[in-house]
Amino acid sequence: MSGREDFREILRLVRPGSRVLDVGCGEGELLELLAREKGVDGRGLEISPEGVSACMARGLAVVQGDADSDLDYFPARAFDYAVLSQTLPQVRQPRHVLAELLRIAERAIVSLPNFGHWRVRLDLLVGGRMPLTHALPTPWWATGNIHLCTVRDFTELCDDLDLRIEACAALANGRPARPIDPKHPLENWRPESALFLLSRANGAPRPASAGERTDLFG
């Protein structure tokens, strides 16, 4: 996504001074932003050596590795938040990764492109081609996305994994995030991209403390 509009929303969600793991942190833009604006104690996991080196030059603690195999080695509840920004469709085992995120962190913040967006459906239906949209800008032969899903698919997976969706917002190019009910049928058509704040349904996440937003989006 250009300009990474999800960063702005993640920045709003994260409690000041919390511990954050950014999975697929790229060159560390988000971690740096979180450290600067929210005093966050951030760590990163990134697959490309160039990304890791760039992070190190920014003074960030980042480990080269991939979400599929390296999350297993983090201790349980080591972080307040685990962030997976536009990365879930690129992992080999989304189900495992999602479960791991909520083992090692109290909450997970996951953003992903919505394959149920009306333009995506139209492209496929009318054009008969793999869609190219703002949220999915890469042609099929070059994309790293191997596990695309719709908002409904993701919501069902969360139910299946016993994860609670504390909040959800639709993200669209240049417009402010819009809080949505991800289970509403229309919302499987409308968002180009969606951001979820998740917690374990059975584990009691710590109550919202001072400085944490309760009006999650808007």
Binding site: P49, V52, L60, V63
Partner: protein, 385 residues
């Protein structure tokens, strides 16, 4: 001599180097005691007023305290001149870099070729077996003498990386950051096996004389050269050997004999020969033994993360090389996973290179850039200007 004078003199060691003499006995892991200790070291740069900019560089197996500047014996640049120096990743305009010869070494620090003060004779094989932890103890004695309570960083590659890990395990409160390059949390069966080949080559040399060659005025040069040849192969990748030598011959045609027909043979023989001029056979035995005994998790019921339990506040940076088969990336990952499990602040990157284990002191811009980035950001965090 008062403490102040000692300290002042030692801090002026510079690139030419100095030797600390400590009369306090050094108790070793084996239970043995070294009655008095000498530690030879060099320094680069200046210690700042609040003594917060000291960087300890730990050298690998066969190198010494001459990390930067010209080596007084060989006339060559220091072994890590690419990394240690003004404007380099370990910037000596900014940091006070210390590099000391390891315990059991042969470049001025107490080792098997030193004189045993109790007998007045060369230690030889009566020198006690030492460990990586003992090497680190000797370095801590040096830091005490220099009046340095906390290192800004401990930095090491290969065996030096293992010392850095040992530092983090044994003296975490004395570290602000630690850089571990091309190392492993323990010596593998393959690592031990290669070392055993080297040791057996030395011991099979009739001039070794059960370690007492110094008294006889001879040196087990053949055995030591073979040990080096075998070890040298492990420092290079198959691709690097192939690129450098392939099947190229020394001269036109085969000799139909056992001269060095192939360039790779001639290269290895040369490596063996120059090594015996600068290294001591008994030191080689003792240091390889120390590495073989290295197993950081062993003291913690096999749980490596426990070794780093007290090092949560240390900033770690771990590097591996994609073509290193001596201490492969998987070993570095074990370190990093244990650091994460311990909740330490760790960075890790695998450098893509075909140069093998030796990449850590060769021209490797990706390593140097990442190391510089790590050091600079750590310096900011430490308040160094």
């Amino acid at each position: 001599m008062s403490d102040g004078e000692t300290m002042g003199g030692l801090l002026e060691a510079g690139a030419a180097g100095a030797t600390l003499t400590s009369a306090a006995p050094l108790r070793l892991d084996s239970g043995a005691v070294i009655p008095s200790l000498e530690v030879a070291f060099c320094t680069y740069g200046r210690l700042n007023a609040d003594r917060s900019n000291a960087v300890l560089v730990c050298h690998p197996l066969t190198l010494d305290q001459h990390a930067s500047a010209r080596h007084p014996k060989t006339g060559k640049d220091g072994w890590w001149a690419r990394v240690v120096g003004p404007g380099r990743p370990l910037d000596t305009d900014r940091y006070f870099v210390i590099c000391s010869n390891v315990l059991a070494g042969c470049s001025g620090t107490t080792g098997p070729s030193s004189i045993d003060p109790t007998s007045g004779e060369v230690y030889g094989m009566s020198f006690p077996v030492v460990t990586v932890a003992d090497m680190v103890r000797a370095q801590a004695v040096l830091l005490d003498a220099l009046g340095i309570d906390q290192l800004f960083a401990v930095v090491g590659g290969s065996m030096g990386g293992m010392q850095a890990l040992q530092w983090a395990s044994d003296y975490p409160e004395r570290l602000f950051s630690a850089v571990v390059i091309g190392a492993a949390p323990r010596h593998s069966a393959q690592n031990i096996a290669f070392h055993e080949v080297g040791r057996q080559a030395i011991m099979a040399d009739p001039d070794w004389r059960a370690g007492d060659y110094a008294k006889a005025g001879v040196r087990p040069e053949k055995g030591l050269a073979v040990a080096r040849m075998a070890a040298h192969i492990t420092y290079l990748s198959e691709a690097a050997l192939q690129r450098k030598f392939g099947r190229e011959l020394q001269r036109d045609g085969l000799s139909w004999g056992f001269d060095a027909d192939f360039q790779v043979e001639s290269y290895l023989r040369h490596q063996g020969q120059v090594f015996v001029d600068r290294f001591d056979a008994n030191s080689y035995l003792y240091i390889t033994r120390a590495l073989d005994y290295f197993d950081l998790a062993a003291a913690h019921e096999g749980n490596l993360a426990q070794a780093f339990r007290r090092a949560r506040d240390v900033r770690f940076c771990v590097f591996s090389f994609s073509s290193d088969w001596l201490y492969p990336t998987a070993e570095s990952r074990q370190i990093v996973r244990a650091l994460n499990a311990a909740g330490a602040r760790a960075s890790f990157v695998e450098i893509e290179t075909d140069k093998g284990h030796d990449a850590f002191f060769l021209e490797e811009p990706a390593l140097h850039a990442a190391l510089e980035g790590f050091m600079t950001s750590a310096a900011v965090a430490r308040g160094l200007t």
